[in-house]
């Protein structure tokens, strides 16, 4: 069990920086997720840790030792690939035994350790099958067993669940969590799925355009995302640029006027987030935190701060609730809100945005176009 320190790592392909000065630490025994959209550099980061590609700047340390001069076969890692990468002409047993044989482990020990690993992932009866005879979920488990049987210092997982169907994915998520806890292996997990990252991780590193956009434990990153980008990626549906007004009100809120709109929203915060230039912020609120009810046409001042009248533009029924798109005068774009009640298109509704639910977010640095990454 070792920790992984990634410090100032950069990698360029031709003229494009695939990752640029990426730093984070995965503590020993922890589960760290690299989360981001495709092309954000998360897989490249993983490949640099694994040694499949040589980094151009920075350093990777595993258990305190720099590994940059070591080829992949000397790093003692386990890697689970997106497509599992099982050796097609070898049985499950031989696949799992591959790493032990390279390490010249004795025949009897190999047999017992392979059996143990196959047991751990819950496939005791399939040792003599070939990969093509297995389902996707079973192949996934074999890939895990193969990576874990060598007792790696670090387990690297490259979107291992993305090729599974939804039900199996949920099931494998629990399995992954159990296996990681039982083995206690330091794990780094690449995913573009925020739900996977939130449920599995001790720490989430959100990546964007080859850089780290934020790193925090799931609860912290969910409740207070570092920036508008992170919030957006973690599924905060409503994001509006705004400007913080002068002084705090008596009730401990600040007034923030929405850019390109007339609305002024009160937000329960003592100060704008760090690193915010010129009081420019992004207001964010999740759809389920907005209360929706039928508008009575009366003045909305009585409803306290942040009550907005709007018209239902469109709705979709998602089973557990109804998601509304509501046009509100004073806001530059429709609000997304969730409610149990059903309102028809065109209905007048009153939305209430609790001051405590609105997040003040740091706007992202001016969009980093591709030219900035060159």
């Amino acid at each position: 069990m070792s920790d992984v320190e990634v410090s100032g790592v950069s990698k360029r392909y031709d003229d494009l920086w695939a990752v640029k000065r990426v730093s984070f630490t995965a503590p020993a025994g922890s589960f760290t997720s690299l989360l981001g959209p495709s092309g954000c550099g998360k897989t490249t980061t993983l490949r640099l840790i694994a040694g499949f590609a040589a980094l151009d700047e920075g350093e990777v340390r595993i258990g305190g030792k720099p590994v940059d001069d070591l080829p992949p076969w000397r790093r003692n890692l386990g890697v689970v690939f997106q497509n599992y990468a099982l050796f097609p002409f070898m049985t499950v047993f031989d696949n799992v035994a591959f790493g032990l044989r390279r390490r010249k482990v004795s025949r009897s020990e190999t047999a017992s350790r392979v059996a143990e690993a196959i047991d751990l992932v819950g496939l005791p009866d399939l040792a003599q099958r070939y990969p093509r005879q297995l389902s996707g979920g079973q192949q996934q488990r074999v890939a895990l067993a193969r990576a874990l049987v060598v007792r790696p210092d670090v387990l690297l997982l490259d979107e291992p669940l993305s090729n599974l169907d939804a039900k199996l994915r949920a099931e494998m998520r629990f399995e992954l969590k159990r296996i990681q806890r039982e083995t206690g292996v330091t794990s780094i997990f690449v995913t573009h799925d925020q739900e996977e990252a939130l449920t599995l991780s001790d720490q989430i590193v959100v990546m964007n355009l080859g850089t780290v956009a934020g790193a925090a434990p799931p609860k912290a990153i969910w409740e207070q995302p570092e920036s508008a980008y992170v919030a957006d990626f973690l599924g905060v549906e409503n994001l509006f640029p705004g400007t913080v007004g002068d002084g705090a009100a008596d009730d401990g809120t600040v007034a923030v006027s929405v850019d390109d709109g007339a609305a002024v929203l009160h937000v329960a915060a003592d100060r704008p987030p760090d690193g915010t230039p010129d009081r420019a912020v992004v207001l964010g609120i999740r759809s389920e935190e907005i209360a929706v009810r039928r508008s009575d046409g009366a003045d909305n001042a009585s409803d306290g701060p942040n009550a907005l009248d709007g018209t239902v533009r469109e709705f979709t029924y998602i089973g557990s609730a109804v998601v509304y798109q509501v046009d509100c005068p004073g806001l530059p774009a429709p609000l997304i809100a969730t409610a149990q009640e059903e309102f028809p298109v065109g209905a007048r509704v009153r939305l209430h945005l609790p001051p405590g639910a609105i997040k003040l977010l740091r706007p992202d640095a001016p969009a980093e176009g591709p030219e900035d990454r060159q």
């Binding site: 392909y13 031709d14 092309g39 998360k42 897989t43 590609a53």
Partner: protein
């Protein structure tokens, strides 16, 4: 990141793997071709300077050379047209067959082009000879009353090259025919197109890239074929390649032979360039 994966192991030149291969091709392909170039452009007169293009141009000034060039082009055109007209129905037929028959017919198409040119020429000599099946058949049909000469002349070359090159045409056409989405035909039919107009308006345009590829391939291979015309053409109907052989081994004029070689080399490169251009355009317009 997928881009990273596709790039494999970085941008360094894989010297240990590539060097032996490059060395082999440099020594045994590139260098000999350069030598050929040097030889073919050697000055004819003692005072001349290198490069001297009079030889290369001279090939086509002589009567023999001019005739050979004309014959080469004429034969290649005829062979290409026959391959086109014959190959299209064969390809259509094979594409239409069930999988079992298709395999067998594909074998029938592919197998002949693995057979040695000598063996095939031998078969045609027997078939087309004065007492061969072809003459007997034509006499029986009453089209001729005496055997006519079908080998050791241009007819022999044309028959032999058609046989040699038709598989290329058929395979090029099959490649595009099999990619046609049957729903396109159904869609056209559902819109009221008759089978005839489906063929002309859907099938033919969609097979155009294959037609182009096949035509180019057949024409260029016909221009540079050697063994078949050598064996079926007899001595009196030289084309460019057999003329090169004659210059090299009968007249021992290697400078002239090299000049023809240069012409053939240029033709080969030209066709590949055109082919690349055409097929990349084909890709673009048919996505």
């Amino acid at each position: 990141m997928t881009a990273g994966r596709a790039r494999g192991s970085g941008g360094r030149f894989p010297a240990s793997l590539a060097t032996p291969v490059l060395l082999a091709f440099a020594v045994f392909i590139v260098a000999p071709c350069i030598m050929l170039l040097v030889k073919g452009l050697e000055p004819t007169a003692e005072t001349g300077e290198w490069p001297d293009f009079t030889n290369v141009l001279g090939v086509f000034d002589s009567k023999v050379g001019q005739q050979a060039l004309n014959r080469t082009i004429r034969i290649s055109l005829i062979v290409t047209v026959i391959c086109l007209l014959a190959g299209y129905p064969v390809a259509l037929f094979i594409a239409r067959c069930g999988p079992r028959w298709r395999g067998l017919l594909l074998a029938v198409v592919i197998f002949p082009f693995l057979i040695s040119a000598v063996v095939r020429a031998f078969g045609w000599t027997v078939l087309l000879g004065d007492s061969g099946l072809a003459n007997k058949g034509l006499i029986a049909l009453g089209l001729i009353d005496r055997p006519i000469t079908l080998v050791q002349n241009e007819i022999g070359i044309i028959v032999g090259e058609t046989h040699l090159l038709m598989p290329y045409m058929i395979l090029s056409l099959l490649a595009v025919l099999q990619r046609i989405d049957p729903n396109l035909k159904h869609a056209a039919e559902s819109l009221g197109a008759s089978p005839v107009s489906v063929f002309w308006r859907i099938v033919i345009p969609l097979t155009l890239p294959g037609l182009l590829t096949g035509t180019l391939l057949v024409f260029s291979l016909a221009m540079t074929a050697f063994a078949t015309p050598f064996l079926l053409g007899g001595g009196r109907t030289p084309i460019l390649t057999t003329l090169l052989y004659d210059y090299a081994f009968t007249l021992f004029d290697w400078r002239l032979a090299a000049s023809i070689g240069i012409v053939l080399l240029i033709l080969g490169i030209l066709f590949v360039t055109v082919h690349r251009f055409v097929s990349s355009r084909g890709m673009r317009s048919y996505g």
